[in-house]
């Protein structure tokens, strides 16, 4: 007959025995030499209320002695440290980790249910492999969550091993003075939401104030939003410095998808990487935003704009285009047709006309419809843009300068000519064919 609880081990919630605790590095402390005490069935597990083996050690000088609070079975279910109940990999609360990895908490909380669950789990652990995670962590692949990596601490936080506050000192009655091992510090504010934490809540990952704080912090981190226009597949890459080259960018970005083109602007220390499709651009942005460091430079990733829009931020920038002198003997540009002619179908405002002023190449183009509805008509013919087809806008006279015929697809028209100093040797340069630095010039004055 089974007379005592110890006699019948079949289908019973057994007391737990273990050889070594499951702990995180911070709980163990900074000293590599630790003396640890082991006490079989020393205390009840705070979650499942089973007697278990308690381990107790000192995590360093002036630290309180820590001991394991929950049994190993409970800690293995959630993959947490037995003392601090934080994740073993990231050191984050259970709620945060579950939110990031989308793990559901299936562990029952009420008495008999819980006992049955832990009993089954324990059998699973003792029979099967210890390698695979059990319980709610089963089936979770070991993908490194971006959110968790961002939120995790980089250095151990030993403040949590400090002794508790000396309540006598708080009342002013501490007679031990210097040798008092408890902290003589002001106690935590009781209004602080972090003050009421419950071990069961922390374990199951519900209603945890620390986790709430972390999640809020994460949602306020700078994020890169994909632009609404799904035709945009270009990324702006800033802060190149002098070290990062097109080759480096290509080597990095090819992993996200096929790159259509890369255009480096050394003067602006930036580059534009265009992908062939939107998904690769989005994944590249996600993986690189605030993360990418090439050759020691932290690159600033933003979304680029559609082809037609590229020049807009640049026009107030440096004067990369030299002024061409007006061709002698030619009349100045003709004035715009008067309003009454009624060709203003888009209700565009007339572009600013400065007579006798040879319009500069790209920047002026965008002044066409400055007051037009944003994003509407100017984006009308973006696909045709770089190919020199700008009939509706080339009413300024001479066609685009600085346009290498034929322009390679996807090249942002803002590429400044290499080594341009803008002064031709003899006479004046009035047409692109006269430019000595153009492609195909007989003797290119390259140094």
């Amino acid at each position: 007959m089974a007379t005592s609880k110890g006699a019948n081990t079949y289908n019973r919630q057994n007391w737990e025995d273990s050889e070594f605790p499951v702990l995180c590095q911070t709980c163990l402390g900074d000293n590599p030499y630790i003396r640890m005490m082991k006490e079989k069935y020393g205390k009840e597990c705070k979650i499942c209320a089973r007697p278990f083996t308690v381990f107790r050690w000192c995590p360093g000088a002036r630290m309180r002695f820590k001991k394991t609070e929950v049994c190993q079975t409970c800690s293995k279910v959630k993959n947490i440290c037995q003392t601090c109940l934080l994740d073993l990999e990231y050191g984050l609360p259970v709620q945060v980790r579950d939110a990031a990895l989308k793990v559901a908490d299936t562990m029952p909380k009420s008495e008999v249910n819980r006992e049955f669950y832990t009993q089954n789990l324990e059998r699973e652990i003792s029979d099967g492999d210890i390698i695979n995670p059990i319980g709610s962590m089963a089936g979770k692949s070991q993908t490194h969550s971006d959110m968790l990596l961002k939120l995790a601490r980089t250095t151990p936080y030993y403040k949590r091993n400090r002794p508790h506050i000396c309540s006598f000192w708080v009342k002013g009655e501490c007679k031990r003075g210097e040798e008092c091992p408890y902290r003589h510090d002001k106690p935590t504010d009781p209004d602080d939401p972090l003050a009421d934490q419950n071990i069961k809540d922390r374990f199951h990952g519900i209603n945890d104030p620390v986790a709430d704080k972390l999640l809020k912090r994460y949602s306020e981190m700078p994020k890169l939003e994909p632009p609404e226009d799904t035709a945009i597949t270009t990324l702006y890459v800033g802060n190149l410095g002098d070290k990062v080259e097109e080759k480096d960018l290509k080597d990095h970005f090819y992993q996200f998808g096929e790159i259509r083109s890369i255009n480096v602007v050394p003067k602006q220390q930036c580059a534009f990487v265009q992908f062939t499709n939107r998904t690769s651009a989005e994944s590249a942005a996600e993986q690189s935003f605030n993360k990418l460091i090439l050759k020691g430079q932290r690159l600033n990733i933003k979304w680029g704009r559609s082809q037609g829009q590229q020049q807009a931020p640049k026009k107030d920038g440096s004067d990369t285009e030299a002024m061409m002198e007006p061709v002698p003997g030619l009349p100045g540009a003709l004035p715009m047709p008067p309003e009454e002619l009624g060709t203003n179908y888009f209700n565009l405002q007339p572009p600013p006309m400065i007579p006798g002023f040879m319009p500069r190449g790209m920047p002026m183009h965008m002044r066409g419809p400055p007051g037009g509805p944003p994003g509407g008509p100017p984006r009308g013919p973006p696909p045709m843009g770089p190919y020199g087809m700008r009939p509706p806008r080339s009413n300024f006279g001479p066609p685009d300068m600085r346009m290498m015929p034929p322009p390679p697809p996807g090249v942002m028209p803002m590429r400044p000519p290499p080594g341009m100093n803008g002064v031709p040797p003899t006479g004046g340069v009035h047409y692109p064919s006269q430019d000595p630095t153009r492609m195909g010039a007989p003797s290119a004055p390259q140094n």
Partner: protein, 144 residues
Amino acid sequence: MPKIKRSRKPPPEGWELIEPTIDELDAKMREAETDPHEGKRKVEAMWPIFRLHHQKSRYIYDLFYRRKAISRELYEYCLKENIADKNLIAKWKKQGYENLCCLRCIQTRDTNFGTNCICRVPKPKLETGKIVECIHCGCRGCSG
């Protein structure tokens, strides 16, 4: 009331010289035993007992071994009557234990890891500025 003498024979000569001091220490001990425990830690209440015990033994030890002011007969009479602790004095004769506070602090079976009490650590080895009061007898360092 005066302390009960365990032997039938009268104490040897020289007893009258040490008797007043012994009586005084005994009175202090009584006081320590009957002190209320309010305001003190559980272990702290025991500290005066150990201190006085050490003091009494120290007095006899000093008189005999250091100052040689009493006869061997009287010394052994005191040990027999348990005025001084024979085991504690035996330790004081050893090198390194001359100032031992009490016998509990060198009992390794009493500690978790089989070590001596913290008060047995010499001050230079202990990190500077750390005040220790051992839990057994309240000693602040009895070696070195």
